[in-house]
């Protein structure tokens, strides 16, 4: 296969990894964002945390693998984005560290003050991480100023533009909605009844933001629609996305929350697909001079590396899918507090 073909396949595989991460860690992060608002007693807080207890770590591996695959398949893009978004990435690292250790630390001391600290860290870590992911996506949609070396030449404050901040907000409510449905499925009794109200609220806010951002994007990022015009078949994605959004309230009111969760997963997947169609054929569009842009081909590794990595993915990913399924099955059902819970 040609280097061009392999690079395109890796562009799609990265989208798959990103989709996997966004759907799986999406509900983890959503649970973290909702944590202080939905759990009233210490026991409920433990239940909420333990709903993701055994699986959040594995979910986050999707991000780590995405990072590694980006490094290997598109080193130029990895270097440009990670060094260009230096401070936001450091904040993201801080958020991810806090979130990870708060889960582990919280249950270890029986003091209300201790637990409040780690509850706060869990919430802030989840919120900040989600928001920053959204801001990064927003900036990639808009494009960033680059020089001939493909180095970012803008400032930190330029990354905090209104459009990107709004994408960050959309991300927060998309994950909160996703997480609220997940929590509804994992809980029972009074807490579950409360989650029903939360699901509705999250849906309304999300729906309003979804409409605003759809309009805003078509106005500000003409490139987003260009690819859809070039490949009309792709229009199926935004249409299915809209249907999936509409299906969430339908499923909730019908009492089939499992379908609502499936729909919110589809919404997140559609967001990732729309994001990559918006930037295609670029990886990092340059906002100052289009010829400085990083394209799929000029950012890609050599044909040899792309081929080897494809082989690694073909061998590795089915295994990952298989034992992920086994592990999710092991921990299926309503969350219960046990001796080993957080």
């Amino acid at each position: 296969m040609s280097r061009e073909g392999l690079a395109f396949i890796w562009f799609l595989l990265l989208a798959v990894l990103l989709t996997g991460y966004a759907i799986l860690d999406g509900f983890d992060l959503g649970v973290g964002i909702l944590h202080p608002f939905v759990a009233k007693t210490d026991k409920e807080r433990r239940l909420v945390m333990n709903s993701i207890g055994p699986i959040w770590d594995g979910n986050e591996v999707w991000l780590v693998t995405f990072g590694g695959a980006l490094f290997a398949a598109f080193p130029e893009a990895y270097a440009t984005v990670f060094s260009g978004f230096y401070l936001p990435l450091m904040m993201l690292l801080l958020a991810l560290i806090l979130r990870a250790v708060s889960l582990e630390f919280r249950g270890k001391v029986k003091s209300p003050a201790w637990r409040q600290v780690w509850d706060l860290a869990f919430f802030l870590g989840s919120l900040l991480a989600t928001f920053l992911f959204g801001v990064a996506v927003g900036n990639m949609m808009l494009g960033v100023p680059l020089d001939a070396h493909h180095e970012y030449i803008g400032t930190f404050w330029m990354l905090l533009n209104p459009y990107s901040l709004a994408v960050g907000l959309l991300g927060v409510f998309a994950f909160a909605l996703h997480g609220s449905i997940f929590l509804y499925l994992k809980t029972e009794g009074e807490l579950q009844q409360r989650m029903r109200r939360v699901m509705w609220r999250m849906f309304y806010v999300f729906a309003v933001l979804f409409v605003i951002m759809t309009v805003w994007t078509t106005l500000t990022v003409p490139r987003a629609v260009e690819t859809l015009h070039a490949y009309p078949l792709l229009w199926v994605v935004p249409i299915l996305n809209a249907l999936a959004v509409l299906n969430i309230p339908r499923a909730i009111s019908k009492g089939s929350e499992g379908h609502a969760f499936l729909s919110s997963s589809c919404v997140i997947a559609a967001f990732v697909v729309l994001f990559i169609t918006a930037i295609f054929p670029f990886l990092v569009p340059a906002s100052n001079d289009a010829s400085y842009s990083l394209t799929i081909l000029n950012a890609a590794s050599s044909e040899k590396t792309l081929g080897i990595m494809l082989l690694i993915a073909i061998i590795g990913m089915p295994c990952v899918m298989a034992y992920s399924a086994v592990i999710y099955w092991t921990f299926h059902g309503k969350v219960k507090l046990e001796e080993t819970s957080y």
Binding site: K43, P54, G58, V61, T65, G67, G68, F71, A73, P75, E76, A79, T80, F82, S83, Y86, L89, M90, L92, L93, L94, L96, I97, A100, V101, E104, F105, K108, V109, K110, A148, E151, F156, F282, A290, S291, S293, L297, S301, S302, K304, T305, I308, M309, I312, G316, M317, C319, V320, Y323, S324, I327, T330, F331, L337, E338, E339, T340, S341, Y342
Partner: protein, 553 residues
């Protein structure tokens, strides 16, 4: 020394990786012990093994969580702080990192859930299988990361090539000539062609000349760390007269692992030193503080190195021993390449590798002596009564931490000023070649420029050239402060919780109920009953925390 971008980026990298590297050796080493305990439980059904595994699993989980949290920093900072390096090595280094993610991390973190949370959800066989997968995953991840690192020390299976660029028009679209062929041109900025390393032979890259020695060295170091961690806690219990039966049981297994690993690592270290000499003579000369290339070469035991005067003050040395060590030369006279054969700008800093190397070797020697002496005492039946030996084991975990850390420091500072070390030029007899000034030659690569001239560079990358150009020194300084604070916090909480867990100790073994039931369904039933009682009160919930009851200690 000026606090410039390079130095700050190096400090940041050193800080984050040294903090991170406290945890992987612990989890890799302890993982092997967990497999042993889980296997023994399966074989004997003795509940004491299960209780021991539960206790060590809790500590394992704590270490793992901080290892993961600090590890994600490592992957990100290649891009954030070392973007130019990432562009240069991504084709080679990235594939090893991606393989680590797909093959190792998923395995490790997936089955960790079953190991930690699955005691009552899966049967003992599935639980043992999960334990093995976690241990295997953690070892496999070290395999890929050591491969990636070793390639930077002894690059193989790759070449350095000038890059071309598609010619984009003002809309950012690719351009084609009249035959529909994509138009590309050499990528040259300010007269310097942009070059990068590309894989030519994947397996040659994976099995590069130093991978084998370095990987076995790292894994043995991890086993030493894990086993001394357990030995240290057990000896403390024995000294305090707490959980003595449990402690002696765990001590025996860990001592075996510690002894074997300490002896093997000495042999491995010797071979590795010869490998280092062959491919990176400047590094070995720095370790040894060896300036003069004449033979016989003496082995410096102690001394104060002086880079300016090119000598070692107050030196205590074994005559000719370095000749013997490096060349297996029984006449003790063979010359060993010294720092005088290395161009001054290519010499590593002297002090840090010199001291780190000595500390590592010294601690390793002490471990061999201590473990062998312990076996002598065990044979005499007095091991657990010798209080000073028990105290020695108590503090030995710190020595193991130091040895693991300074080993890496020696390896990484010793390769400076290179981030990707260029191979040395050798002749047909595989002997190093010296240039007209008498200095060791490093391989070079060249590229033709459009004006007909030839551009030449070393077949490596210097650390100075590897940093991110889009990042300001203040930003790196700010991130250092942030990491310092967060790591201080994490480190203190880790020690605090670890201390609580150790003070609390293992649960007493379950009664005969569990012992006679091989069917896990009975255990699930028992667990549910306990949960039913537990739901009544909140703070008295016996399932309240994994460390229930420890507040009473």
């Amino acid at each position: 020394m000026e606090l410039d971008l390079v130095l700050l980026s190096r400090i940041q990298f050193a800080l984050t990786i040294m903090f991170h590297y406290l945890f992987p050796p612990l989890t890799i080493g302890m993982g092997v012990v967990l497999v042993y305990l889980g296997g023994m439980y399966l074989k004997t059904r003795d509940p004491a093994y299960r209780q021991a595994q539960k206790f060590w699993t809790r500590i394992f989980g704590l270490n793992f969580a901080i290892g993961v949290a600090s590890g994600i920093v490592m992957e990100f900072q290649f891009g954030t702080n070392w973007a130019t390096y990432s562009r240069f090595v991504g084709d080679v280094f990235g594939s090893a990192l991606a393989a680590e993610g797909i093959f190792a991390f998923f395995l490790e973190s997936g089955f960790l859930a079953v190991l930690i949370f699955g005691w009552n959800r899966v049967g003992p066989k599935m639980h043992f299988f999960s334990t093995c997968m976690v241990s295997f995953g953690s070892i496999f991840s070290s395999v890929w990361i050591v491969i990636a690192n070793s390639w930077q020390q002894t690059p193989a299976g790759s070449h350095i090539v000038p890059m071309t660029r598609e010619v984009l028009n003002e809309h950012g679209q690719r351009t084609f000539d009249e035959n529909g062929v994509l138009i590309t041109k050499p990528w040259i900025i300010d007269g310097v062609p942009v070059m990068r390393a590309e894989v030519t032979d994947f397996w040659a890259m994976v099995l590069n000349p130093s991978t084998g020695y370095r990987l076995s060295h790292v894994l043995l170091g991890c086993f030493i760390m894990g086993s001394f961690f357990i030995l240290s806690i057990c000896s403390w219990y024995i000294l305090k007269g707490k959980h003595v039966e449990f402690a002696k049981r765990s001590f025996g297994g860990a001592l075996f692992l510690a002894t074997i690993s300490s002896i093997l690592i000495a042999f491995n270290g010797h071979q590795q030193a010869q490998n280092v000499y062959h491919y990176q003579p400047a590094k070995l000369a720095t370790f040894e503080g060896h300036f003069e290339s004449e033979g016989p070469a003496d082995l410096t035991l102690f001394g104060i190195p002086d880079a300016e005067a090119e000598t070692i003050h107050m030196r205590i040395a074994i005559p000719g021993a370095l000749s013997f060590m490096v060349h297996d030369d029984t006449s003790f006279t063979e010359p060993v390449i010294g720092l005088d054969k290395i161009r001054p700008e290519h010499r590593p800093p002297l002090w840090i590798p010199f001291i780190s190397w000595r500390l590592m070797v010294g601690i390793g020697t002490f471990f061999i002596a201590l473990t062998l002496y312990s076996y002598y005492l065990l044979w005499r039946g007095t091991l657990f009564k010798k209080r000073w030996v028990m105290w020695a084991y108590c503090v030995s975990v710190l020595l193991a931490v130091i040895a693991n850390q300074v080993g890496w420091v020696a390896a990484e500072v010793g390769r400076q000023p290179w981030i990707v070390h260029p191979p040395i030029v050798t002749d047909t007899d595989n002997q190093p070649v010296f240039d007209e000034d008498g200095f060791l030659q490093y391989e070079k690569v060249s590229a033709a420029l459009p004006d007909g001239s030839i551009y030449e560079r070393y077949a490596g990358l210097s650390t100075t050239d590897g940093v991110s150009k889009a990042v300001a020194a203040e930003q790196v300084a700010a991130s250092i402060v942030m990491f310092l604070l967060i790591y201080l916090l994490l480190g203190s909480v880790w020690i605090f919780i670890l201390n609580k867990k150790i003070q609390h100790g293992p649960e007493p073994p379950e009664d005969g109920f569990a012992k006679n039931q091989s069917e896990s369904i009975f255990q699930v039933g028992g667990e549910h009953d306990r949960l039913g009682l537990a739901d009544a009160g909140l703070w008295d919930d016996p399932t309240e925390s994994t460390d229930r009851g420890e507040q009473h200690d």
